[in-house]
């Protein structure tokens, strides 16, 4: 008998956690919204489109309208490099139209790698006896937050938890409260984590309410792959993750619990990338249609070697691995398909890849990343495969990333203003769809960048950053009063002055 810990049989625990009544009512004739056959038909039915047809679809996307699955399938069929170039350019324009020239940064905090699942691609899987298992207590979690906020300067984190009775909703809620409780004195002011996003197992509505009540940011759960048969193959049926629909409908339950922002994603490389890209779009459309609010962000990690993971040994799996060229297409097509949604690229990817795909649509990234349990407080400078879920491709510090972005004229934003004044959920979605959110983002990026430069930057980065700020303020001035009222401009400048004098957390 398989045990989830020394006392609890796995089957009993799974039956206790999964509540079929919380997802079965969403099914139509017993089926979920991912129709494998239909998706393949759409992909295979599409012919290579004419340039005229491609441009029609791009125009729809530029008008900030979610694409239909048939339209995405059509773009997938493009073969001509020159047409792809046009697609990349439009993706970059859309990104700029909605989000301006800014990148939001965050840090992942791995709180526990105890896991009852046995996913064939994951270093945390229960059969991996090489993995060192750790679960941080609240003091250790605070130490992580202190290091992230006080030493690196991030203002938002995503806390990550394995699926295990030891990391249940109460533990996650306590972790959120612990992270929010930290404030660290800095060179000129103070620093704290202002937004705690969560990546955790699918929970039931009552448990999700607990996270809502303590101020969860975005609740992120990846489907891994949308292809039913592949999902079944990679997630053994006797594990809790083996239930495809319990996972697929977790964002529905999150909305039912009152959570404003949810995030979807899948792990590219488990199945054919074209199918999973379509799956992500179907998922976004389902959330939009049912709740009026699509996903706040979409993640699209690529499979990377994990410690002792049998999947990498399977020869027939390698046909699904995603090349750099296809990866760029995935990012650009996501930008076009769901234009209002944030796209997250992580430090799994090498610097060269991140540099290449950031402009075609990404809005968020991580830096100074540690994915070992307790890695920030330990200040472990190197990666240890026996303590990680996967290997990182880019180990740049936040300082290095900010400097590199500044050289390209990109402003790094630490803005969490939406959470300071309730611009969340359908409110922010509405602003994004109208292309208005970027105006707030622009001003808040300037203010939070100033904070970071004063508190954490080296002289070299401060100089590079101040040049970016100078240009940004110049642009704002030019757009006053046509976009920004005189009152708003004056207020921003007075906040800027106050921040320079050590005040913190001022926002528009």
């Amino acid at each position: 008998m398989h045990l989830v810990n020394e006392n609890i049989p796995a089957s009993a625990w799974i039956n206790k956690v999964i509540k079929p009544e919380e997802y079965e009512h969403y099914l139509v004739d017993g089926k979920d919204f991912i129709d494998d056959e239909k998706i393949w038909q759409q992909i295979e039915a599409s012919q290579e489109p004419s340039l005229e047809r491609v441009r029609e679809i791009l125009a729809k996307s530029y008008a900030i309208k979610t694409l239909d699955p048939e339209e995405l399938a059509t773009l997938i069929k493009v073969k001509e490099p020159a047409v792809w170039q046009e697609i990349f350019e439009m993706a970059a324009r859309i990104k700029h139209k909605i989000y301006d020239n800014r990148i939001i940064t965050f840090a992942p905090v791995y709180c526990s790698n105890h896991c009852v699942n046995n996913c064939l691609y994951c270093g945390f899987r229960s059969d991996n006896t090489h993995e060192k298992r750790e679960r941080l207590n609240m003091e250790q979690i605070k130490a992580e937050a202190e290091a992230i906020a006080g030493r690196i300067g991030h203002k938002r984190v995503i806390a990550v938890f394995g699926e295990h009775p030891d990391s249940d909703a109460d533990y996650i809620a306590d972790a959120i409260k612990s992270i929010y409780s930290v404030s660290v004195k800095t060179r000129k002011g103070h620093s704290e984590i202002r937004r705690v996003n969560i990546n955790a197992a699918p929970l039931c509505v009552d448990d999700l309410r607990k996270l809502h009540e303590v101020g969860i940011g975005t609740y992120q759960v990846f489907q891994e792959t949308y292809h039913h048969a592949t999902y079944g193959k990679l997630h053994p049926a006797n594990t809790i993750k083996g239930n495809y629909q319990w996972r697929l409908y977790v964002h529905h339950r999150a909305y039912a619990a009152g959570i404003d922002d949810v995030a979807i994603g899948c792990l590219f490389g488990l199945y054919d990338w074209r199918f999973d890209l379509m799956g992500l779009l179907y998922h976004a459309i389902e959330l939009e249609q049912r709740f009026g609010v699509g996903p706040h962000t979409i993640s699209f990690p690529r499979l990377t070697p994990a410690s002792n993971s049998p999947l990498f040994e399977l020869a027939d799996q390698q046909k699904y691995f995603v090349s750099d060229e296809d990866f760029k297409k995935i990012v650009a097509l996501l930008r076009l398909a769901v234009p209002y949604t944030g796209l997250i690229i992580t430090a799994r990817e090498k610097k060269e890849v991140r540099d290449d795909v950031l402009p075609v649509g990404c809005t968020q990234t991580d830096a100074s990343t540690m994915i070992g349990i307790g890695g920030y407080a330990k200040n472990a400078g190197c990666q240890n495969i026996d303590e990680q879920q996967f290997m990182l491709g880019d180990t740049r510090s936040l300082e290095e990333l900010i400097y590199d972005l500044a050289q390209r004229g990109v402003i790094t934003s630490f803005c969490t203003a939406g959470y300071r004044c309730g611009r969340t959920g359908d409110q922010i979605m509405d602003l994004l769809k109208k292309g208005q959110e970027k105006h707030f983002c622009k001003l808040n990026a300037i203010l939070t960048y100033r904070e970071w430069l004063d508190d954490f930057a080296s002289e070299k980065t401060r100089k590079a950053g101040e040049e970016v700020i100078r240009k940004e303020i110049e642009e704002v001035k030019k757009q006053t009063p046509s976009i920004f009222s005189k009152k708003l401009y004056d207020l921003t400048m007075s906040y800027y002055e106050r921040i320079s004098n050590g005040e913190r957390d001022l926002f528009i």
């Binding site: 303590v214 101020g215 300071r420 009152k487 207020l491």
Partner: protein, 82 residues
Amino acid sequence: MANEISLFDLERLSNSYQIRIWQCRKLGRRWSFIDGAGPEKVLPSQLVYEEGDLGFFVQAESFDEASLVDELKKLVKKSICC
């Protein structure tokens, strides 16, 4: 925990003061949107009234803040009584 006021009342306040107004619930360190009325404006968001964990934010060039707060107080009180 204070009760929310109705969308109908938010729309009435939005029209009468020519403002964008929305109500939020305070959760930990953050505010969570409930609902709101009036067109979005690229203007600062101002927290005008808090009752328990309920907060009201406004975007406007100018408005009679004292009068609005007075109305909000009455509406929140009414929603608690009901």
